[in-house]
């Protein structure tokens, strides 16, 4: 339950933070959520990871769907990913996920210092 709530909160607050703050606000959100909702380091890491994997993955996928893949195909050649748009979406999701996961892990490790 904690895991689920932490994940959902991270998704929601990251989304709203992203509207007004720079991209790395996802790290702040994941950190604060993990600070407030205490979990084991592994669980914190995973909930931050999954939250942003889902958020960035879904956003990118939805944007790409509406764009009919016009830009993702081009960017996936520039980066270079051989024009593979799905891979680009996955990489987008993973980058967000790692940053948020690590931020959540940091918060969880902070709890360890208070034992």
């Amino acid at each position: 339950m904690r895991f689920f709530v932490a994940t959902i909160l991270t998704i929601a607050f990251s989304f709203f933070a992203g509207l007004i703050m720079p991209w790395w606000s996802i790290a702040l959100v994941a950190f604060v959520v993990a600070l407030v909702i205490r979990q084991s380091p592994l669980k914190s890491l995973l909930s931050g990871f999954f939250a942003l994997f889902i958020l960035w993955g879904l956003l990118a996928w939805w944007i790409d769907l509406k764009n009919q893949g016009i830009l993702s195909k081009k960017i996936a050649m520039v980066l270079p990913l051989g024009g593979n748009a799905i891979l680009l979406i996955v990489i987008t999701a993973i980058i967000g996920a790692i940053v948020a996961g690590l931020a959540a892990l940091t918060a969880s490790c902070f709890h360890l210092t208070r034992k």
């Binding site: 720079p22 967000g96 902070f110």
Partner: protein
């Protein structure tokens, strides 16, 4: 700001945690470390990751930001069914304005007054083309290094651009622009419109290229508009059109009279714009050749190689023609224009309709300047081709010493004006460059600090018409509002560079063309080579009076054709060197002279005509002189392909590939032995010059290979050329590239050429530079337009691009396939009452605040 606050918050949190622990710190030192190590490690690792992802690494963008779906490139992926309805309240607009976007995303702007009209035009240019307009003006002012970072090529490009005096010229243009209330008010409003859009930008809505390159837009200004027009002057009348320095080098291997034949002023086959036989008035100015010319100029052998970094295409040309009512089915004139430019994404053109109480014009616009540039209004239509005239001369200057502070002029040392150029470099130290300006000959473009081994540090100044004060943009403020010939004639007076063939047709039946610009009056041979610059004797003595510029008004033939040919025959009383193209205008003339009852459909067909008159003229010569029995089997096969070919350079033809390869091989055989003595990259004579020479004289002196003891004949070299071409053709055939479209591989690249995926590679198109449909490799008809000035104007047009400059938009390149097929769109001159028309897909309402 947000960044700082958030960082502070982050650290405060950490500080609190530390201070609480401090009291028990000494007691629990061991466990303290044990507890803190995971936290510190994970914290440092997270922070480091964020820093790495937030930073640009060379050309790699800041990936965290770039990939973020709420900030980075994903935000530029626009929904294909995007809604263009919008109501905006905006500071700077006086009244109300409506913009109707049609199904091709062409905006039809209706404003209550002219200032609002130009404000909205600026706003829309920025909304759809901001990055391109800024990038082009950065390039025009030598600021590429500032965006692209350190690279010797960029630095040299920037230095060359500044040394050419682009900024200096734009400063003069700005003075003239701001002195005239029409251009001042119009451009002020335009600039305000661009800036109003820039104000709305956020990190997320920033155009993609800014995200990729990692910078943000500056404010627009009237100065930038001037820079844009200077860039056009450079591309259409700049270094690429002044052959002074290459010809100076060639003077070391040819005599002046030989050069005069290799680069003839008037080709035999020329069909000038002004019909042959037209009587010219006695010249208003007769420039006097200096008495020292034979020894100091024509007789001097010299070298003056300089490096060119801008890689200008001297084939920037165009076609335009107008047919009068006598030649058309309707009895009303038709005007056609297809300007040939470097094809790029975003396109140099943006299609618009501009309507206010004083104007209703439709056509293509230049993002970066106000008004419709090529198009029509309710009464007239207008189009342009490049005059190709040389309006730039180079002078050898003598400095007292390397400080460049004084130069020798008319028997004494004169102080030079030193201009220190600061070239900013992204991520590096700025580069400073001191450029000396002479009063008489402009900036000293090349000197010991910008030079190479062959120019021996020679100081070379550049005198260019585009340096002079002139209000060129005024032309379009007036032309868009012209009702008749007199208005058109008044409109063109202010224009001085680059020289243009300004074609005009009116509903009342008039057709006309003036070759307009400020042209120096030269004595024969003046400015073909580097000139002595130590006194005033080689300076320009004056300008050709405007009324003596070449012109045609309602010719008897019923049509006017300009396609970059020399505008007049040899009876014109001035010496007018240029980079002319003869064959395309011959092709158009040949077609038009036999056409009657012309319809717009005929004109579209003519604009996209792939028939090669050049090949048709060359074919009998090649077939006559080739010795088939000496050819190997492969060469024989290609000879048959060529023989059976119908001279159509269509996309799927193989004959055109064989012809072009054979011809290029022949030209190489003729010229290489003579020109290889030059240490520099030569500019071989024009193909038409060679063809005319070979048709006239089968013993043309350059046929002989001077490196062999044998005296080659025309048959020898024609046969040899095909033998040499055959292996290359076999290789191409094996790779499936023998068909013309595969051979030439026509492509349109993004302005950042290295980003290939933003371009369109390998378009299925025919044509070539010597053919009416002048599509070469990445150059060609940048806009095709046919305007029938019937009682209700009927107009067609297409350009190879799309209205939205964003590579993530469905409107980025949606016109390309239509263009490649040779199809057109119907251009819709909308009335405000058409608001409910099915073609309107969005309405933007703008209101002052």
């Amino acid at each position: 700001m947000i960044f700082k606050k958030a960082t502070a918050l982050y650290f405060t949190l950490i500080k609190i945690s530390f201070s609480r622990r401090i009291s028990s710190l000494y007691l629990q030192l061991d466990s303290f470390y044990m507890k803190f190590i995971p936290f510190i490690l994970s914290f440092l690792f997270t922070a480091a990751l964020i820093v790495v992802l937030n930073k640009r690494w060379g050309t790699v963008p800041d990936m965290g930001n770039f990939l973020s779906p709420q900030h980075g490139f994903w935000q530029n992926a626009e929904p294909v069914n995007k809604n263009y309805n919008e109501a905006i309240r905006i500071v700077g607009l006086k009244g109300k304005a409506e913009v109707y976007f049609d199904d091709r995303l062409v905006p039809h702007v209706f404003a209550e007054n002219d200032e609002d009209l130009y404000f909205v035009q600026g706003y829309l240019h920025a909304k759809f083309r901001l990055w391109q307009m800024e990038f082009q003006t950065m390039a025009a002012s030598g600021r590429i290094s500032e965006i692209l970072g350190y690279d010797p090529r960029f630095i040299n490009y920037d230095r060359e651009t500044r040394r050419l005096g682009m900024i200096y010229g734009a400063e003069h243009a700005l003075k003239a622009l701001e002195a005239d209330p029409v251009t001042k008010t119009g451009c002020d409003a335009y600039t305000a419109g661009v800036n109003a859009y820039i104000e709305t930008l956020s990190e997320a809505t920033m155009p993609l290229e800014y995200k990729l390159l990692g910078y943000t837009p500056e404010k627009w200004s009237n100065f930038k508009t001037c820079l844009f027009l200077k860039q056009m002057s450079r591309q259409l009348a700049g270094e690429g059109y002044a052959h002074d320095l290459p010809v100076t080098n060639e003077r070391s291997i040819f005599s002046f009279s030989e050069l005069d034949k290799l680069y003839p002023q008037v080709q035999d086959s020329l069909i000038p714009i002004v019909p042959k036989g037209t009587l010219f008035e006695a010249p208003g100015i007769v420039p006097v050749r200096p008495s020292s010319a034979d020894t100091l100029y024509f007789g001097k052998t010299d070298t003056a190689k300089v490096a060119n970094y801008a890689e200008l295409n001297p084939h920037n040309g165009s076609n335009n023609w107008a047919v009068s009512g006598a030649k058309t089915a309707s009895g009303h004139p038709i005007l056609c224009n297809d300007p040939h430019l470097e094809l790029s994404f975003p396109s140099i053109w943006y299609e618009m309709q501009l309507h206010s109480p004083t104007v209703n014009a439709y056509g293509v616009t230049f993002p970066g300047t106000p008004n419709v540039i090529i198009g029509f209004n309710d009464n007239v239509s207008f189009g342009f081709t490049n005059a190709e005239r040389d309006v730039m001369d180079f002078y050898s200057v003598k400095f007292k010493d390397d400080s460049k502070k004084e130069y020798w002029f008319n028997g004494q040392w004169k102080p030079a004006k030193l201009r220190i150029e600061e070239i900013k470099v992204k991520g590096g130290e700025p580069v400073y460059d001191t450029v000396a300006y002479t009063d008489e000959f402009g900036p000293v473009m090349y000197d010991h600090s910008f030079s190479d081994e062959l120019s021996k540090g020679k100081a070379i100044a550049c005198r260019w018409i585009a340096h002079d004060e002139s209000n060129d943009g005024l032309l379009w403020f007036k032309l868009d509002r012209a009702k008749n010939y007199d208005d058109y004639y008044a409109a063109i007076q202010s224009f001085s560079c680059p020289g243009q063939n300004m074609l005009f047709a009116a509903k009342n039946g008039d057709i006309a063309l003036w070759e307009q610009a400020k042209f120096p009056a030269r004595w024969y041979g003046q400015g073909l080579m580097l000139m002595p610059g130590e006194d005033s004797s080689y300076a320009w003595q004056g300008y050709i009076p405007q009324k003596e510029n070449p012109h045609v008004i309602n010719p008897l033939s019923g049509y006017i054709v300009s396609a970059n040919q020399r505008p007049v025959d040899s009876t014109y009383p001035y010496f007018i060197p240029g980079s002319y193209n003869t064959i395309r205008s011959i092709s158009i003339n040949k077609r038009l002279e036999n056409m009657e009852h012309i319809s717009p459909a005929d004109m579209k067909k003519l604009q996209t005509d792939n028939y090669s008159y050049f090949a048709a003229y060359a074919k009998p010569l090649l077939l006559k002189y080739v010795r088939e029995n000496e050819l190997n089997n492969a060469a024989k096969k290609y000879l048959n392909t060529f023989r059976d070919w119908n001279q159509q350079a269509n996309a799927e033809e193989t004959g055109q590939t064989v012809f072009q390869t054979w011809w290029d091989s022949l030209a190489t055989t003729v010229w290489r032995d003579e020109f290889e003595k030059l240490k520099t990259k030569p500019e071989w004579p024009d193909d038409m010059t060679l063809l005319e020479a070979l048709l006239k004289d089968s013993a043309y002196k350059y046929i002989d290979n001077i490196n062999t003891s044998k005296k080659e004949t025309l048959s020898d070299i024609v046969t040899l050329a095909l033998q040499k071409a055959a292996p290359q053709l076999m290789k191409e055939e094996a790779e499936g590239r023998l068909v013309w479209t595969k051979h030439k591989n026509s492509s349109i690249f993004h302005l950042l050429k290295t980003i290939k995926p933003f371009g369109r590679i390998g378009l299925p198109v025919g044509g070539w530079s010597n053919i009416i449909n002048a599509i070469t490799i990445s150059h060609g008809p940048s806009w095709r337009m046919v305007v029938h000035l019937d009682s209700t104007t009927e107009a067609y047009g297409v350009y190879p691009g799309g209205q939205d400059g964003n590579p993530g938009s469905a409107y980025y390149d949606n016109f390309v396939d239509t263009w490649a097929k040779g199809d057109y769109y119907t251009l819709w001159m909308m009335n405000k009452s058409d608001e409910g028309d099915g073609r309107v897909k969005g309405k933007m309402s703008l209101q002052g605040r």
